[in-house]
Assembly symmetry: C2
Homo-oligomer: 392 residues x 2
């Protein structure tokens, strides 16, 4: 086990009806907040009105900024930063999924920064201060409700970069699994895929003697995969949504990655896809992850055997590890197909033409100095290109 720090201070308020208390929950922290959200879905569902009613009842003043889109845009964050400064906002309440929360975090750190907040995403420079962010979660997926991470798309540069800081961990996050009942099926599938990938990125490691976190990763993955078909079949299965929702938070609050080297290769490769093609992050991951596994498994056969046996339920008592590993990958593909995910890039309308460009971008090769991505196997642009091609 490697030395580590674990710090996950976001307070999780979980369960039926908990969003109706959001005003009282925020009152100790702010007199004026920015209510930040996406499009029409929270208005149609009535959530928007209930959140506003709760804020008003608690005497918490607010201004509003809607319009966050999937793969949230830098330009809207700029707008939010201006608004917060003008209105003396003390806290940002993100009502939505990962895109809204990530956008809120960009605004939260931008308010105290003199330059363009994109600098943080591009250079990774540390921040000293950010507005507190609170969350009412409507899509279990990104884990952004517990993490200090944010991903933003710079539309002008067609770049999608992530940034992380402990200062960006939400103050508190409210999760009512009943809010997930109305999610479209593709968002359900994408959320499930994304949270599984958050575990995969930590699970697949060359760090040995990490038995506890291995086991935590495996439990989270099994729980997600066991409950996914239940919510796909019955969108109002509250108990199954509780498992999926809570698992999505545990997958990304840092716990399951403690003491181990992490990978993040698939996330990096996927960000290039959705920056250029504007596809859903989860769909991109569903296609890339099995391709990545096929490309890298020989670099750590034991890890992939363990995955096949402990997570995918493959019988481990065969003498050919390759058969065990391949059956594990086959079952993962079958699982993704069963929740409605595409199996290839072509199904998402992505052809060969820009693969090399994306591979060079993913590793920053085209920006002068190449930074290989991944952990279990270091991936240079040629490796990334090979994986994209496997995923075609």
């Amino acid at each position: 086990m490697n030395n580590f720090e674990f710090y996950s201070p976001a307070r999780l308020v979980f369960g039926k009806g908990s969003e109706d208390n959001i005003g009282n929950l925020l009152k100790p922290y702010a007199k004026k907040i920015l209510l930040h959200y996406g499009g029409g879905s929270i208005k149609k569902s009535g959530l928007y009105d209930r959140v506003k009613a709760s804020l008003e009842a608690a005497g918490v003043a607010y201004c509003e900024l809607g319009g966050v889109v999937p793969n949230p845009r830098l330009s809207l964050a700029h707008e939010g930063i201006e608004l917060c400064r003008k209105e003396n906002v003390e806290l940002i309440l993100a009502v939505g999924g990962g895109s809204v929360i990530d956008s809120a975090k960009a605004i939260a750190m931008g308010v105290y920064y003199d330059g363009d907040v994109w600098d943080m995403y591009e250079t990774g420079k540390a921040i000293e201060k950010a507005l507190p962010v609170a969350v009412v979660l409507t899509i279990p997926a990104a884990g952004s409700e517990a993490s200090g991470d944010t991903v933003i798309t710079n539309e002008e540069k067609a770049l999608k970069y992530g940034y992380g800081s402990p200062k960006l961990r939400p103050l508190l996050s409210v999760m009512d699994p009943e809010l997930f009942f109305t999610l479209p099926k593709n968002q359900v599938a994408n959320g499930i895929t994304d949270m599984m990938s958050h575990v995969f990125e930590r699970y697949f490691t060359n760090t040995t003697e990490v038995e506890l976190t291995d086991g935590l990763c495996e439990t989270v993955l099994r729980t997600i995969m066991h409950n996914a078909p239940r919510v796909v079949e019955n969108a109002e299965d509250y108990a199954a949504w509780c498992e999926i929702g809570f698992a999505g938070t545990v997958a990304h609050n840092g716990l399951v990655g403690c003491g181990r080297a992490q990978d993040w290769g698939c996330h990096n490769m996927e960000h290039e896809l959705s920056a250029i093609y504007d596809i859903a992050h989860g769909a991109g991951l569903a296609v890339l992850t099995p391709a990545w596994m096929e490309y890298v498994w020989k670099d750590n056969v034991a890890m992939f055997v363990q995955f096949a046996v402990k997570v995918m339920g493959v019988d481990g008592s065969y003498r050919e590890p390759e058969l065990i590993v391949k059956e594990g990958i086959r079952r993962l593909r079958a699982f993704f197909a069963s929740i409605g995910q595409p199996a290839t890039l072509r199904e998402m309308g992505i052809g060969e033409d820009r693969l090399e460009e994306m591979a060079r971008k993913a590793t920053h090769e085209c920006f002068g100095q190449e930074h290989p991505i991944g952990g279990l196997k270091k991936l240079y642009w040629q490796d990334v290109l090979a994986i994209y091609k496997l995923a075609l």
Copy 2:
């Protein structure tokens, strides 16, 4: 799954050598601290000198209060409260195991309370403020390094009561598993038993549809039981200590109890034993837990079958659940014996004479109004007495 709140803000700084940075870690929070510890072991090991050197190098002033004993005493907490007030202490650094941390928490809340801090333990009244507590952990066991709980013994009244508040969660805890190398074997066994019990008290529940936390509990228990023999056989097995130490924190930071009714019957019954007989908490739990299981399993057969199969590795494909459950309990007893725990109260010098008195105290029956303890099965004083007798 029940509605819940999860809030675990304690920052865990984990790994070899991390205690040598304690001065820098505390510097942002306090100019003057109370260094609180037990007896001679930290002096003998050199830890005391290293912590002082780190504080001095960072320019953090300190005063000292040693002398914490297992089953920490109210009288020492009173002394600490006076000292902190006199010296304008801003933070308490507990260097030790659960007893030292629990004592530090008593002092931390007592400083801001006008009456006797015992009031909190006796009446459960809420606190508004406490000094921050930081920890350098020397015994993985109590989980107090991440929890808001404290247990104190009132020597005059021969009562051992617990108290909990989110305000008592440590600010940060440093855990270097190398510090565990010099623990005596009985402390190792007691620590392992205590952390397992923290999971048991949450795991054995009548709340259904809590698959994720069931799985997390099972993983933590399996990890502890897999690594326990390694540290018992080789006190310097760093990798195994990492698993045990980290598991001890996860067992008690609140995560594995989210969304489920909890039990705490065995802890309550054990507190009576160690208040009167001053036995080790872990040893008491090792004796009481299997007896409790025998007494209550029929109230939730499915839960005990799951425990036997998922945790104790019993083959679950037999038609008589009773056989599966009993084999699970038998294996748990065998495990406790293998790490050197006693199997009966008599082995610890406890006879029949005060069992009824303890049973009436455990349920507060002797104080006028009985509060049954336990969750999976409510235990009245007669039940507690029956369990004590089973454990004889």
